[in-house]
C-alpha cells in the first residue's frame, strides 16, 4: 500500500507516523511538504501528523487547513482515499471541514501528556476492523487543544451514525461525550487526538495502536 505523510511547518510527529507506516506496510511513505499542490497517485492512505503546524497561530490547525496541499487532500478524501489525522492532524481536518466539530483548549487548561484508556466504539470502520467493539486499548495523548466540541444536534447525529470511533474511558480534556476520534460520513476520514503511531511495538510499552494501521492495510489492499 502506498502512503503519504503531509508535513507542515511545525509538524513534529511526521517521522513517528512514517516509521509506523513503514513498519506495517513495508514501504516508506512519501513525505509531502505543505506547499505542494499535488499528491502522489494511487495512495492507500494520507496521514496528517501531530505537532504544532504554523505555531498554532489563529487556532490550532487553522493555517495548515488553508495550505496548498490541503486542497489536494480534500479532493482525494472526497474521492474516497482514506485520510487519517492524528492530534494536530485531527485539528487540521476539522478546520478543513472534512470532519464535524472543533477542538478547543483542554478544559483543565493543562497540556495532557500520558497514556489514556480508549474504548473502541465502532470496530467496523476502515481504521478499526482489527479491534473488537467495546474493547479498551491504551494509547498516548499529548495535546493542549483536544477538547472536542460540536453542538448537541451534531453530536447526536454522529453518535447515531456510528461515527464516534474512539471514546476516552474517562474524561481527559473535557471533550463532549468523551469523544476521542471521529469518522466522516463516508467512513474514509478519521481524526483522533490519541497517537496510535506511538504504540506499535513492545519497546513503546505496548502495540495497541498497531492494529489501526494493520486493519487499514488489510482493507485497502483487498
Amino acid at each position: 500500500m502506498k502512503t503519504a505523510v503531509v508535513v507542515f511547518p511545525g509538524s513534529n510527529c511526521d517521522r513517528d507516523l512514517a516509521v509506523a507506516l513503514e513498519k506495517v506496510t513495508g514501504a516508506k511513505p512519501a513525505m509531502v511538504w505543505h506547499g505542494e499542490s499535488e499528491l502522489p497517485a494511487g495512495l492507500g492512505l494520507i496521514a496528517l501528523p501531530g505537532g504544532f503546524s504554523y505555531g498554532d497561530y489563529l487556532r490550532s490547525g487553522a493555517m495548515a487547513a488553508r495550505s496548498p496541499v490541503m486542497q489536494a487532500v480534500v479532493e482525494a478524501a472526497n474521492k474516497g482515499t482514506p485520510v487519517l489525522g492524528v492530534c494536530n492532524g485531527f485539528q487540521v481536518l476539522t478546520e478543513a471541514g472534512l470532519l464535524p466539530g472543533a477542538l478547543m483548549r483542554n478544559a483543565g487548561l493543562n497540556f495532557v501528556c500520558r497514556d489514556v484508556a480508549l474504548k473502541v466504539e465502532n470496530a467496523q470502520s476502515l481504521f478499526t476492523s482489527r479491534y473488537d467493539a467495546g474493547e479498551t486499548i491504551r494509547v498516548p495523548v499529548a495535546h493542549h487543544d483536544g477538547n472536542y466540541f460540536a453542538d448537541a444536534e451534531t453530536l447526536d447525529r454522529i453518535e447515531s451514525e456510528g461515527r464516534v470511533a474512539f471514546r476516552y474511558a474517562e474524561s481527559v480534556n473535557g471533550s463532549a461525550r468523551n469523544i476521542a476520534g471521529v469518522l466522516n460520513d463516508a467512513g474514509n476520514v478519521l481524526g483522533m487526538m490519541p497517537h496510535p503511531e506511538r504504540k506499535i511495538e513492545a519497546a513503546h510499552g505496548g502495540d495497541d495502536g498497531r492494529r489501526l494501521f494493520e486493519g487499514l492495510l488489510e482493507l485497502v489492499a483487498a
Binding site: 464535524p100 472543533a102 478547543m104 483548549r105 483543565g108 487548561l109 466540541f149 473535557g174
Partner: protein
C-alpha cells in the same frame, strides 16, 4: 480602510481561558466579577472600497471558526 474584527466564542461554548481569568481576578481580590469570556481582536487594513461580502467571506473562511465562534466587523473611521 481599517477594520477591527472581534471574534468571540458562541454563547454556551465552554471557555476555559475566560474561567481561568475570572478565577485569577477573584484571587486578586476584585469583587463582583460575574463572568469573563476571552476572545480575539483582529485589526486589518484593506483597500478602500473592499466590499462587505468579501470581508464577510474572509471572516467565515479563516478568521473565525463558525462552529465555535461568532464575529463582528467594525469599520474604523479614518
Amino acid at each position: 480602510m481599517k477594520l477591527r474584527i472581534f471574534v468571540t466564542l458562541k454563547p454556551g461554548v465552554l471557555d476555559p481561558q475566560g474561567k481561568a481569568i475570572h478565577k485569577a481576578l477573584d484571587g486578586l481580590g476584585f469583587a463582583g466579577v460575574n463572568d469573563v469570556r476571552a476572545g480575539k481582536l483582529i485589526e486589518m487594513d484593506v483597500a478602500d472600497g473592499t466590499d462587505d461580502a468579501a470581508i464577510d467571506a474572509m471572516c467565515r473562511k479563516l478568521i473565525a471558526n463558525t462552529v465555535i465562534e461568532n464575529f463582528r466587523i467594525e469599520k474604523v473611521a479614518a
